[in-house]
Symmetry: C2
Subunit: 340 residues, 2 copies
């Protein structure tokens, strides 16, 4: 091969590479499951502005942090948070191990299978169930139990594993941001260890990028001198509301450039993200699609439900601060990833 043809080949390869990079980073169809509109355009503009070196809003790659709430933002949260279902379904196993709980409330009600009575359990009852099912075992035992359950349990409406109830458009946002150098973090009110059991396979988010409600662990040794960590009931981080920015500081140590949520539990995370300088993207998913998913608010006259409250006050704050409200009905071309 002559030097001239080698140079040409290198130039051709370089052009192909630049084209493929260009296509990967900026193509509109990276968000193929979004209808065109303000929400989709805001995401595209944010990425363009923060990754184009000639832009006044350019963000160096190391500072590209995006945080996502999970329940109601990345996957279905109705009629009940998946982790609460997990805890309720683990109760029989806990009672087998500790038979003295069989006739003690709230375990007795859970064992009865009476869905109405279970729905009426108080927050204190739920906390007792969470403590009994999420703590007192080693980190490895918990992981194995959670993974086994996630493989077999299915929801009532779609009859699919819960990990197949993620929103295709939001999965595209995760992938699009990562393709543009963003580290994507989950910042969830759910249990950190529970979410870590499936976050990598389900969202491409590794365990070290999951910030969640977290309890302490206790280091100790088994009878063979092998060290292990036991999950303890004392809470280190309640990753809801003000706990979200506090958790972001604890676990990430940088203010996010973009934050996504769907309820009052995400309000402070979006405020904190928006208080930084330069380009920032704050988005809230509004569940206004009773046919394809669920409809609840109570913002904009949607039904008021217990799970994932999107108040009118939050809607008004979004309007006044320039946060983008994503209408599931209008902005999502597809809803569930598994429908594709």
């Amino acid at each position: 091969m002559t030097w001239r043809s080698e140079k040409k080949a290198i130039a051709a390869l370089a052009i192909l590479w630049l084209l493929s990079v260009g296509r990967g980073s900026y193509a509109q169809d990276a968000l193929a499951s979004w209808n065109d509109g303000r929400a989709k355009q805001s995401i595209l503009k944010f990425v363009r502005d923060t990754t184009d070196q000639s832009s006044a809003d350019f963000v160096p790659p190391v500072e590209r942090i995006a945080t996502f709430d999970q329940d109601g933002t990345l996957w279905v949260e109705h009629p009940m948070y998946t982790q609460v279902i997990y805890c309720l379904e683990r109760v029989p196993a806990v009672v087998t191990r500790k038979p003295e709980l069989e006739n003690v409330e709230p375990f007795k009600t859970v064992l009865s299978g009476d869905r109405d009575a279970i729905a009426k359990l108080s927050m204190k009852d739920l906390e007792e169930i969470l403590a009994a099912t999420l703590t007192g075992m080693s980190v490895e035992e918990f992981n194995e139990e959670a993974r086994k359950w996630l493989e077999t349990a299915t929801d009532h409406r779609w009859r699919r594993p819960y990990t197949q109830l993620t929103y295709q458009p939001m999965q595209e946002v995760l992938e699009y941001l990562r393709a543009n150098g963003y580290k994507t973090y989950m910042v969830t009110g759910g249990g950190q260890d529970f979410v870590r059991a499936y976050s990598e396979g389900t969202y491409g988010i590794p365990p070290e990028q999951v910030v969640g409600t977290a309890g302490a662990t206790q280091y100790g040794y088994d009878k063979n001198g092998r060290p292990f960590l036991t999950k303890e009931p004392n809470l280190l981080l309640n990753d809801n509301n003000a706990g979200k920015p506090e958790g972001i500081h604890l676990m990430i140590g940088r203010r996010p450039r973009a934050a996504f949520g769907n309820s009052t539990g995400d309000q402070q995370m979006l405020e904190y993200t928006g208080a930084g300088d330069g380009a920032r993207l704050m988005m809230l998913v509004l569940h206004d699609d009773p046919q394809r998913e669920y409809a609840y608010g109570p913002a904009q006259g949607l039904p008021d439900t217990k799970v994932g409250t999107f108040t009118q006050a939050l809607y008004d704050e979004a309007q006044s601060k320039g946060w983008i409200v994503i209408s599931m009905k209008n902005d999502f071309k597809e809803v569930l990833r598994s429908d594709k």
Copy 2:
């Protein structure tokens, strides 16, 4: 250009690329500041075994986590932890803000400048000084104060900024592991926010990969309604001893493949790392070089000092478990990065 010459050019580029990858990943001189010996060979073998796809010990890239203690492992910790010096030197500024502390102990002793009296302060005194100088301000104010100090403060022996007292051979290990797909984490007993102020510039470790002793923060709003986080005195994680594996679980959620320390405060982190299956690398820096740095143990008859205790029991545990003891005197060809 003919198709044949294009193919040749592509093949030539592919070979060049493979060679450059090969050279970057496996070259012995990635550890140029190490003398040849068991320590250096152990690092090279560990990386080879865990990154070669045909090896029985191959580790997928997502699971490549390496954790490093800081004080005495990555930089000089004698005669006093840098962060303690920072806190002592911040006392005058705190007293200016709160004049009522001027004649109150332990602040009075610190203000006196009497080094012997300061060296005799109790742990309770030190904790009071740490709380007064590390909490009660916003996260941003703290970062600015810490960065300003780090730019100007110098140590007494080398008369250089503290960030220039890092060990060149350990910097090479950090870079070598990263070049081979490892995420390098700091797991330090030092304050998480303090270390994050310089970890990226000094070690190439971003804030989100610093696990340290961490206090809570409190979310609130200033008079203009702008949200901010205040550093609070209540401790969430004491990242020493058993707190290290507990902190690793909280902040990373995976067991490390490699762990580096230098004192009894790192014992549990190395035990926890070593208790995983497959290839694992556990290393301890022994400070046995009074000429080029310091000599302290008390393992192997070295002087016993207050800071960074390497006991004979830890030395014996290392021997029995196959952990590698790095002799600063024999294994380090260079010591400080800034000496190069």
